[in-house]
Symmetry: C2
Subunit: 342 residues, 2 copies
């Protein structure tokens, strides 16, 4: 109750410290321009008055939005939580607000993203969705958003925006190599959805390593999935019906692996006894699943952080420009879902 004064403005601070508002502003944004003694006086006054800068006023004057938008394909997928945490952390020091939108539940109309830029509601965007149409991106460019869009994890083929992602092909190679090291020869792969860039990257890494290791290949061992639990389950059915069953399966996502495992187990097979399974992502659940999942870990926190930093470098004039594109290393995490073939 004691604090219900209206909030202090820069005017109040100026009055208390007996300087002009210009000086107060400078203390805040360009401290070197003002002498030590007045700086101290102003900082004292700020403390005394409890002054906090009014973002709306600052944004208006500086003609910026003070916000960035994060486009998430499906917030429900546990995979994204760590990434979002990383992003938030990356923006924590800045004065940018972080808006999050789900591109699946509220499908991004052609002009929605561009609209955000047009209306000056955001200064930049991070897209985790590689399914944004080139047209939509083109529209953003129209509003001068050229270099204020960053792609994270996924990307749009043929567009020049910065991309932060994991080393997907290497992850696939690690998975295959691990299975090979255990003695597996007949290795299948459940892919992501057609047309997804990650699907391609991981499939190609897998095929490449399989070739390098001179492992046998059969067309039906490449099973089309879509990163979902269901598709894993579907894949299990297909595998159960095969004449020539693989002894190990590399899944393009952990969720797929879960569906696959439960399908295989329901079909009477043992994992990893009869079939070994490797996932991709290392989401939280993978550690505690039964059996604990061997998988390829992406550093989700770091991915998010990095993307935030890159975007900040673009929108905030003060930041030093970082290298835009970066590929983060992945890591093989060996748990209980893989074992030598019987």
């Amino acid at each position: 109750m004691s604090k219900m004064h209206k909030p202090a403005t820069i005017q109040d601070v100026a009055r208390v410290s007996r300087v002009s508002t210009a000086t107060v502003s400078r203390v805040l944004s360009n401290p070197d321009l003002v002498s030590k003694s007045t700086r101290v006086a102003v900082l004292d006054a700020i403390r005394e008055t409890g002054y906090r800068v009014n973002q709306a006023a600052r944004n208006l004057r500086m003609k910026r939005a003070g916000a960035v938008l994060i486009l998430v394909p499906n917030l429900g997928k546990p995979f994204y939580s760590g990434i979002l945490a990383g992003i938030s952390e990356g923006f924590a020091g800045s004065d940018y607000a972080v808006l999050i939108t789900d591109t699946e539940s509220s499908p991004l109309q052609e002009e929605t993203l561009a609209g955000y830029f047009r209306d000056g509601r955001i200064d930049g965007a991070i897209s985790l969705d590689g399914g944004i149409s080139s047209d939509a991106l083109q529209q953003c460019v129209t509003y001068g958003a050229d270099d204020r869009i960053v792609f994270l994890c996924e990307w749009v083929e043929g567009e020049a925006f910065p991309v932060i992602s994991s080393d997907n092909p290497e992850g696939a190679r690690l998975a295959i190599r691990h299975l090979h090291d255990l003695g597996h020869k007949k290795i299948a792969h459940v892919t992501g959805p057609d047309g997804n860039v990650l699907t391609t990257a991981r499939r190609e890494g897998m095929v490449q390593e399989r070739t390098r290791l001179k492992l046998p290949a059969r067309p039906e061992w490449i099973i089309r999935g879509d990163f979902s639990l269901e598709s894993g389950h579907e894949a299990a059915r297909k595998i159960l019906e095969m004449d020539e069953r693989p002894t190990a399966v590399f899944c393009a996502a952990d969720m797929v692996a879960f569906g696959l495992i439960s399908g295989l187990v329901a079909g009477g097979l043992k994992v990893p006894g009869d079939i070994s399974v490797v996932g991709f992502d290392d989401i939280e659940m993978s550690r505690s699943y039964v059996p604990a999942l061997t998988t390829i870990r992406q550093d989700r926190h770091q991915l998010g952080r990095r993307a935030a930093e890159v975007l900040l470098g673009k929108v905030a004039t003060t930041s030093h420009a970082l290298p835009s594109n970066s590929t983060l290393p992945v890591e093989l995490v060996i748990r209980a879902s893989t074992a030598p073939p019987s």
Copy 2:
């Protein structure tokens, strides 16, 4: 490229339509105050110039933040995605930006939430986290946030903020009744974490119905969990060791049910053959899990929507005040994880 003019302002519209900026503003926010003819002229001018209101200017003038904050305990839990979608939808028509923060990954310091209000960065908040300290809430009140905080799903005992939640006790009762109808008598319950309001509501609903139906009760049939996969798995171990095993288990969350089922199956039991399992929430995965999970559905989308509407009613002066507290109905969804006892 053709559009790289700087964005039109209200001045531009005024000039084109030959009226004052005041009139343009009125057309936008109070159309009845202006005559039909000028209104049409202004709207034409708006269309012609491609004018869009500058939120920073509006927010500054109206002394508001133009944003609301959503506090989510753990964005990684699939349960929250549908809720967030509902919230977004609820705010879609308004000019409020929706900020989302994860209270687990970036633990909400005592004064963080209050700080948002103090700095005028938000006009209101929806908390899905019932673990906010009374002190922190008290601080918000200090900044006049009394009636601009809404609790959703969870709440803080002893505080007077509006609460939108599902009928948790009824959900528990439905679950028990369903198992009873199938012929089960020995029913166990895996709870949520101690101190959580949902844990209490669901446990009490369960106990109440069990009593009403005169079913046997044993202390060890109430197993402490924490809504996580692991706790379900842990519960499975306990159940496997029991002398007097229950024939059915009601879990306080779907994730718990998944952990439980995989633990039971790993222990050699069949679900639902040997033990039936009911969950709570009906997250996406439950439909596709193997076996598909019988569970209590919460209308997550509706919960989110409702909370958004209630908060809008508080922060936007124009909205008609809705009843603040509301309890939404739940629904029993029967799938494959429950069957009569053998």
